[in-house]
């Protein structure tokens, strides 16, 4: 039998061409990409952020986006070789920013290559640029030894505490795109001034109908949106409150949130119920000192929070229903699962039916904690 091993070795030595063999330092590791449409042509323009490491014991990362053009996504991605001499390596890309123009034209053509190619991973974060192009996001100056894409990824990983955008991975976006009765959203990026420096900030949501972007929700609306969706979201709720004639601001920190979507049958129409349960803690009292040891006051505070959230959610739902006509909440999917017989009628014309859908929002808040203080700080004369 050993002669087969010999034969194997022979085969190996003769075929030691190493087709896929790539030394790691020869790769242009792509960390992120901004995708634009080139002006006046139908060409793509990519701003590819390539990690450029200066070697040695203490490596230094240089910020260095490469701009390439091409007739298709793949073409422009390949054209990086012409600019850098390195083949771009996409498996470690963390962020893809798409310009608004492209998003409004339809995002599918962009996504096809990204999801077809085995190298690009499906957990890349997608964004829409709310600036005029996507390139400018990557031209902002990150800190030393950092990259815009890594910074974006850091922001995304902390989004639970500041739910003013809804992060979306590529696979999640595709899933929402292909799921019946569901439209996708993407977070948007804008550029803000910070200490004289231009830095990117993730703020707000781009709403899609099918694969075409139809409008924006700003950060506050996105906040309400994340409370309306069945996903984790924490963050702060800031409420102007008036108690016993005194008015001030109360900040609540959300510890736990569950949102349940359920479809019921009302008359001969479907009715969506959005049930939100909040568990909050009093985090900051400014201007007032409500004695929350009193049950009535506690109930009142809870009621305040509930009605505020309820109102915000109702607002964002009705705006989406009227303005965008796009089911970004996945109500259709819920109806499909829970009332399949009704869905069969609605399915063909869902984007129209969605605007007429009755949505009932119920919010239930429990104040669970009040930080380290059992009572407001008392002032005595």
């Amino acid at each position: 039998m050993k002669r087969y091993i010999g034969f194997l070795c022979l085969l190996m030595v003769t075929t030691l061409g190493c087709w896929n063999y790539r030394e790691v330092e020869e790769l242009g590791i792509v960390s992120g990409v901004g995708i634009d449409k080139q002006e006046n042509t139908s060409n793509y323009q990519l701003a590819i952020e390539i990690v450029n490491i200066k070697g040695g014991q203490d490596g230094q990362i240089n910020h260095h986006p490469v701009i390439t053009q091409g007739q298709s996504m793949f073409d422009s991605a390949r054209n990086t070789i012409l600019r850098t001499g390195q083949r771009a390596y996409w498996a470690h890309a963390t962020a893809a920013v798409i310009s608004e123009d492209l998003a409004r034209d339809g995002i599918l053509s962009v996504l096809d290559w990204v999801s077809r190619d085995a190298e690009v991973r499906s957990d890349i974060w997608l964004f829409v640029s709310s600036e005029k192009d996507a390139k400018s996001i990557f031209l902002t100056e990150p800190d030393l030894n950092d990259l815009v894409s890594f910074k974006l990824a850091d922001m995304v990983s902390a989004h639970n505490s500041v739910p003013k955008f809804i992060p979306k991975e590529l696979w999640k976006f595709k899933q929402e795109l292909s799921a019946p009765g569901q439209s996708p959203t993407l977070p948007t990026i804008r550029i803000v001034e910070n200490n004289g420096q231009k830095v990117p900030e993730i703020w707000g949501t781009a709403v899609f109908r099918k694969d075409k972007m139809v409008g924006w929700l700003d950060g506050l609306e996105s906040f309400a949106l994340s409370y309306a969706l069945p996903k984790n979201a924490f963050g702060l709720i800031i409420l102007p409150t008036t108690i016993e004639g005194k008015s001030g601001v109360v900040s609540y920190e959300v510890f736990g949130k569950t949102t349940m979507h359920s479809a019921t049958f009302a008359g001969n129409r479907a009715l969506m119920n959005v049930q939100v349960d909040l568990q909050v803690g009093i985090a900051d009292l400014e201007g007032i000192t409500p004695d929350y040891r009193e049950t009535t006051i506690l109930r009142m505070l809870e009621e305040d929070v509930s009605s505020f959230i309820k109102q915000e959610i109702r607002q964002v739902i009705s705006r989406v229903q009227q303005e965008f006509k796009s089911d970004i909440f996945g109500f259709g999917g819920v109806i499909r699962q829970q009332l399949p017989h009704i869905w069969k009628d609605l399915e063909s014309d869902w984007s129209e039916e969605f605007t007429k859908l009755d949505v009932r929002v119920a919010v239930n808040t429990t104040i669970r904690a009040s930080g380290l203080l059992t009572a407001p700080i008392q002032m005595r004369d």
Binding site: Y4, R121, D123, R336
Partner: protein, 364 residues
């Protein structure tokens, strides 16, 4: 030559790995959409009587493999002709497995490597294994089964964080018809592909061993398949499951626990490679054994080398592209394989029962 006896544990391991083989990685039964788990269960249910039938053949005629049984049941001439058809079946199945495997490696990993290279290396390993014989394959499977099972169940466990149960509802949205079609397809690929074992097994430790080997192997393999496929659909959703060539690979890609346990796709590759190796070796063994039996040779080992070469060439010839490969697996195979897996064995079984009754050789 000493008859190759296989122990129950080894037999079960081989059957288990054989069933998992290609099925783990290729999307099967996608037309059942979100009810695919039901389709798998139905397929297991349908496979039980079929596999019992295969075991019955072994039980009736101990010490014989399918080619002997065919000659016993149908007489020498017809028996040999059907034997030759089965040789083709095993050969074709082997080429398909080889090609699937090559496509998998090329598509997910080594795009620039010529497909022939991984295919030939695997084929040479199989050649070695088949020359060593069934017993070695049995020990090999026995050794690797636990790793494969642990890896498959482990990845399923890790995927639990990504599971979305709404992917499985609504139940029976498209009615029962696609589910039954899918169940039939799953039955023919991979469950009753085990017909190939009737060509390979002949001697068992105990008289009741064949029943144990086939049925326990089927049920364990079926359960693992059920768990993984359900998991894949739960994670990917039925749409993505349907449009991926290798949904198992896709699903494992999703694993990400605290940014630490992630990028484990290669585990899917490992399980596929090992079980694919077993599957391929069995096909090759069946082909060689069958050819030797039909042409009246006492040993099969001398034709293993050319048969392997032929199988490698065949695997390249058989499809032009992965698109064609997928169409075959999904559309053509169930119809093509049904006579081999269901038709002929049933007829053969009836013939044998009848003949034994007439001759009075019926076992007690």
């Amino acid at each position: 030559m000493k008859a190759e006896v296989i122990s129950e544990q080894q037999g079960i391991s081989i059957v288990l790995l054989f069933i998992l083989g290609n099925a783990l990685i290729i999307s099967i039964g996608a037309q059942a959409k979100s009810d695919i788990w039901l389709a798998v269960l139905i397929a297991i249910g349908m496979a039980i009587p079929v596999l019992t039938l295969y075991a019955r053949l072994h039980y009736l005629l101990p010490g014989m493999d399918l080619f002997d049984i065919l000659q016993y049941g149908f007489g020498s001439v017809i028996g040999r002709i059907t034997g030759l058809i089965y040789v083709w079946f095993a050969f074709h199945l082997g080429s398909r497995v080889l090609r699937n495997f090559g496509e998998f490696i090329i598509t997910v990993g080594l795009e620039e490597t010529p497909q022939l290279l991984p295919i030939s290396i695997l084929a040479i390993l199989c050649l070695w294994c088949v020359k060593e014989g069934l017993e070695v394959l049995g020990r090999f499977s026995n050794f690797f089964t636990r790793f494969v099972v642990i890896m498959v169940l482990g990845t399923s466990l890790l995927l639990l964080t990504e599971v979305d149960f709404s992917n499985l509802s609504p139940f029976l949205y498209h009615g029962m018809a696609p589910v039954t079609t899918a169940a039939f397809k799953i039955l023919t690929f991979p469950f009753t592909e085990t017909v190939i074992f009737t060509m390979v097994f002949s001697n068992f430790q105990k008289k009741s061993s064949p029943y144990k080997i086939y049925l326990i192997g089927l049920i364990l393999g079926g359960l693992i398949l059920f768990i993984t496929i359900t998991n894949e659909v739960l994670v990917l959703g039925s749409e993505l499951y349907e449009t991926s060539y290798f949904p198992g690979y896709r699903a494992v890609q999703r694993i990400n626990i605290r940014n630490f346990i992630q990028r484990l796709e290669i585990l899917a590759g490992v399980t596929f490679l090992i079980s694919g190796f077993v599957q391929l070796s069995i096909c090759l063994l069946a082909t060689c054994k069958g050819l030797a039996k039909v042409l009246n040779f006492d040993d099969y080992r001398f034709i293993v080398t050319p048969t392997t070469f032929l199988m490698v060439t065949m695997s390249i010839l058989i499809y032009n592209s992965i698109i064609e490969m997928n169409r075959w697996a999904v559309e053509i195979w169930p119809v093509y394989a049904a006579p081999f897996q269901l038709g002929i064995p049933v007829v053969l079984w009836l013939a044998c029962e009848l003949k034994m009754k007439l001759k009075g050789e019926y076992p007690a």
